[in-house]
């Protein structure tokens, strides 16, 4: 019996809000937090942008309603037309082309699909051909609209897939499950977010990675707060120390709980299984909505 599910009305429901959940390292609990935030909302869209290893679907087990292949243009050479002028190899900003003897080599995984080589080639020996990069899927789990992207094995340039995933604008609450790290993929995933929630572990390594994502969200000018995950009262928490020392708001603390790991290993959503987790994530969502509203209101800005 899941009596508590959806029993607490979301007081600020109806306000559009995009929250990105991110962390410097993997395994801090991004998916746990983003899945549960979406699950406790009255209406939400969950977008799994961790396209290199998406795992939100393991929890939502969504009914997939649509799936579409995302392609990127890559240069294909017609060796019979190439006269070895080297205009393309010298122009390429990514060193994705090499000319060995009369053979023009193209390195697709280094290519950023900018189209410069095909535009410049005087012999029209290079043409852009759309090549599959991965798929984006849309589905449903109860009140949650589910979206994810899956990068094809062997591909390394995931940015266009994340772009395709976030192209559609959503209403109400959107929770973005970001890739780990603080590089291009994360930047792309959080660019459109109104608010960033940084999930951090209570370790030195965790605090170091927290500092990296904190720097990134500050550069992007995003309002943010940290969620201290796997916290143990009896032990020190370097991520908490970092937050206090750097004026980083603490949105919540989630105590270390082996039950969460047990539920995750079965692909179960904590807030759908345990009442106190439903209450916890509902409160967290309230806090985020409030902080995000304050941040966007010029009169209350700190």
């Amino acid at each position: 019996m899941l009596l508590w599910v959806k029993s607490t009305p979301d007081s600020t429901m109806g306000t559009d809000l995009t929250v990105a959940v991110l962390s410097g390292k993997g395994g801090t609990g991004k998916t746990l937090v983003s899945v549960n935030l979406a699950a406790v909302a009255q209406k939400a869209t969950y977008v799994d942008c961790d396209v290199e290893e998406p795992n939100g679907h393991l929890f939502f087990k969504p009914t997939i309603l649509s799936s579409r292949v995302v392609t990127v243009p890559k240069p294909v050479v017609d060796q019979s037309l190439c006269d070895g002028c080297r205009i393309c190899t010298e122009a390429c900003a990514f060193n994705a082309l090499a000319l060995i003897g009369k053979q023009l080599l193209v390195f697709n995984e280094v290519c950023h699909s900018c189209g410069l080589c095909t535009t410049l080639c005087p012999k029209k020996a290079l043409t852009e051909v759309e090549q599959p990069l991965g798929v984006v899927r849309q589905g449903r789990h109860g009140t949650v609209s589910f979206e994810d992207g899956i990068l094809d094995i062997g591909q390394s340039e995931a940015v266009p897939l994340i772009k395709a995933l976030l192209k559609k604008k959503h209403k109400d609450l959107v929770v973005i499950d970001s890739p780990p790290g603080s590089g291009c993929l994360v930047t792309e995933a959080i660019l459109g977010a109104d608010y960033c929630l940084l999930v951090a572990e209570p370790t030195r390594f965790g605090a170091h990675n927290l500092a990296m994502v904190h720097e990134l969200v500050q550069i992007l000018g995003k309002p943010c707060a940290v969620l201290l995950n796997k916290n143990e009262e009896s032990a020190s928490n370097p991520s908490k120390e970092y937050a206090l020392a750097h004026n980083l708001s603490i949105a919540g603390t989630l105590p270390y709980d082996p039950k969460l790991a047990a539920l995750a290993s079965e692909g179960l959503i904590a807030s759908e299984e345990l009442g106190h987790y439903h209450a916890y994530f509902s409160n967290l969502l309230e806090t985020i909505r409030k902080e995000a509203a304050d941040a966007s209101d010029p009169h209350t800005q700190r």
Binding site: A98, I100, V110, C184
Partner: protein, 120 residues
């Protein structure tokens, strides 16, 4: 034949550089004239594809052999297309690796790594 070796500095007693594509210099040793020249690696500062560009530059210098500790798969493709022999460097100076090659002490480079495609 010209032998290329990634070098930490532009001198024969310099250490052999552990990186191929990001090495600051390459020593080019001509076995016929027994002379060496040093080439600055212009690809070292590339945002990406340094190995591809560095391999292209070495192919353009008509090298026949490369001595290196390691090699990314893209650079390996360029060098293999040019039929360049690739040998595994020993933990020695540039000059001593050249001597080791001439004494037949260097083995072919067994494996290439999948590359470090940073900047994503």
């Amino acid at each position: 034949m010209i032998i290329a070796i990634p070098a930490e500095a532009n001198s024969l007693d310099s250490a052999t550089c552990v990186s191929f594509g990001r090495a600051p210099y390459y020593c080019l040793y001509n076995t016929e004239t027994e002379s060496s020249t040093f080439m600055t690696n212009l690809a070292a500062d590339s945002a990406g594809g340094a190995g591809i560009q560095a391999a292209q530059d070495l192919v353009d210098q008509s090298i026949g052999t490369l001595i290196t500790f390691r090699l990314g798969e893209n650079a390996a493709k360029v060098l293999q297309a040019a039929e360049i022999a690739i040998l595994k460097a020993l933990n020695l100076s540039v000059a001593d690796n050249i001597s080791a090659l001439q004494e037949g002490k260097l083995a072919p480079l067994g494996e290439v790594h999948p590359g470090f495609h940073h900047g994503h």
